[in-house]
Amino acid sequence: SAVISQKPSRDICQRGTSLTIQCQVDSQVTMMFWYRQQPGQSLTLIATANQGSEATYESGFVIDKFPISRPNLTFSTLTVSNMSPEDSSIYLCSVVWGEAFFGQGTRLTVV
């Protein structure tokens, strides 16, 4: 299995600001995935982050709003930019190591 450390675990942010979420994995992995879980909803894939290349974004998500970095095989960041209350969600990073494993999530509240 893979151990994933994600931080911050929660934050309350003002609208119009940005938040960067960090994800550290205890093993080298090719792909890291970022998901969003809106209140009462299931997980929706935002993007796939590959080391050494641009992230691949799913329909409805754009790089200007959710820029992603992947500087090495064990680390990635997701930034939520120019936040609005609609961005209030849990953000999760995930890796596939046989099965998919998840970080503890970042609970973001935008006020």
């Binding site: 994600q6 299931s42 997980l43 999760l92 998919a100 494993f101 998840f102 503890q104």
Partner: protein
Amino acid sequence: EDQVTQSPEALRLQEGESSSLNCSYTVSGLRGLFWYRQDPGKGPEFLFTLYSAGEEKEKERLKATLTKKESFLHITAPKPEDSATYLCAVQQTGANNLFFGTGTRLTVIP
């Protein structure tokens, strides 16, 4: 388009009252179907992977089964600590990410 539908949305059981959760799926080429448990404020915790129709897997009070159209998570004699949201997800052949259902929120009452 991949689709995963879980039912019921919420389920309340008395301790010891066995039941089943349903996950119906539509996917073009199933690589695997996954069950996760999610506690409030935490990320999903892996439970099972099923790869082919007829496959069954068990872990303590949980048993997962798979057909060509749906999967069931059977909970036998549940305890209050089994209270959580149970998520079903499918992985398409050739894909790395998972496509999730909306989950079943299970509450087990002592």
